[in-house]
Assembly symmetry: C2
DNA sequence: CGGGGGCTTGAGCGTAGTCAAGTAAAGTGG
DNA sequence: CCACTTTACTTGACTACGCTCAAGCCCCCG
């Protein structure tokens, strides 16, 4: 869900990139400078776009995916109520998606990492239902939705891809509802770690090594628990020998037992 | 979200229909018989299809929306794991959407009523993530997804409609996550009643009269509470004079106070 | 190396869960 | 239509899980 397997000697950038893929080759990648996006030459296109596009279609992408936006840690990519115009494909880093209810209470309903797509919450109403905040210095490619929708009419593959994105979001949320509705604190934390682990594994890193990008409080908010409870459960799992913890670095020792919690 | 404002003297069928619209005019509407669907002549087309379709496009709908499926109370419209082939537009009645986790625990993550569309959970994986069960004798129009997707490539309006459907589902789930993550039992029940009330109102019935279609246990499951707790909270709200309850018939007396709970 | 924020741990409390009994409503069959 | 069975709901007493408040520790960063 966010992730990451830090091989012991990982360099910070490797560690942060989220995907074991080469960085883009564009010039001028200053931290806060907006850069041009070029899907046609992007090494990670397979992560955020469908595979079976023709060469012509790929260069067509370049006509509307023009910009990559850097976002510093703690800064929003968009805010609740912002007019919905774009999807954002995360290129590097990670984000949390936060909604605020009428009482001002915040709820984190998703964490996103590199390769995943943000902004789907705006499609139905025309404005964003929540805000997307960077958990670390990150960057995202800006995909204008109107142009994407037009492109979908031409490309079956792109249409499929879009539908899949939205449906995946639905399934992800359903899993969270399941967690919040049926699990006890210890199970929630265990499930969270395993989910994390799986995402790490999918990106080619060792499944047992996690480097959290979010605080205990954010984890608690996401899991419907208080930060103290998250901490207690992590300690409990440690005492039982299922995990080893050093601050935001977590090693999963016994996958089977963790799944059985 | 499910059910309904019973004007005191409502007939059973009116009561059950879910929408203040005339029934379809097709012949042969035996309870368990599958009937032909005809979007072109359907009085409720505006509820489940986009408004701005041309006459030609509407008759095009008839080429693939062919069947209406009756489902008896307690029976599934589809099961978890079923191959995903169709969306289902609910014509009459109501459904719950249930997912089952690996431990066999069930979680209701949505209730659906007439006019709403079921089955979105299957798009990403190709098979349904959960099952849709009728809360009462119901019927749904079968919309083959492949054909719908093809139609979307031709009609911008239909494409928009589909995207809106999926995004609405995302927003709905996000609201449930918010409820489960941040609210106390009394607030959850109050929010549930208000949500119900709003849907009732949108369908043209008085907002203050609710006729629940689901049991306390189902409400509790949906809200992440036990049935006893739901019952206690309903009693509490009654004692405070915010609602009046007679079994599955609920009258909201004080909307403002209910919202402030 | 010192300061500060994030994290851990403890004690006590409150909310919701569990178990159980009793009541109301909804089916079922004569 | 009524008696009977079954299921759904309500209420109470008790328990336990997670929250609150508070103190202290450990990283991480400057």
């Amino acid at each position: 869900m966010f992730y990451q397997a830090p091989p012991e000697a990982a360099t910070p950038s490797f560690f942060r990139s989220g995907l074991p893929l080469p960085m883009l080759t564009e010039a001028g990648s200053g931290a806060m400078k907006r850069t041009m996006a070029r899907c046609s030459g992007c090494a990670r296109r397979s992560v955020c776009m469908p595979l079976d596009l023709s060469a012509a279609q790929i260069s067509r992408l370049d006509t509307f995916v023009r910009e990559t936006r850097p976002v510093s840690r703690g800064q929003p990519l968009y805010l609740a109520g912002d007019r919905f115009q774009n999807f954002y494909a995360i290129r590097t880093g990670s984000f949390k998606f936060v909604t605020v209810n009428r009482d001002g209470l915040e709820q984190i309903s998703s964490f996103f990492v590199a390769g995943e797509t943000l902004g789907l919450d705006g499609v139905s109403s025309g404005s964003h239902a929540g805000e997307a905040v960077a958990l670390e210095d990150s960057s995202a490619c800006v995909i204008p939705f109107a142009a994407l929708e037009a492109f979908c009419a031409e490309s079956r593959a792109m249409q499929r891809h879009l539908h899949r994105l939205m449906s995946e979001e639905i399934v992800r949320q359903a899993a969270l509802v399941m967690l919040l509705g049926t699990m006890k604190a210890e199970q929630r934390v265990a499930a969270f770690l395993l989910n994390l682990s799986e995402r790490v594994g999918r990106q080619g890193y060792p499944r047992s090594e996690l480097a959290l990008r979010m605080s205990r409080e954010e984890i608690g908010n996401y899991l419907g628990l208080k930060l103290e409870t998250v901490s207690r459960m992590l300690s409990k799992l440690t005492r039982q020998g299922l995990v080893e913890i050093r601050a935001k670095r977590i090693r999963i020792v016994d996958f089977g037992a963790l799944a059985r919690v």
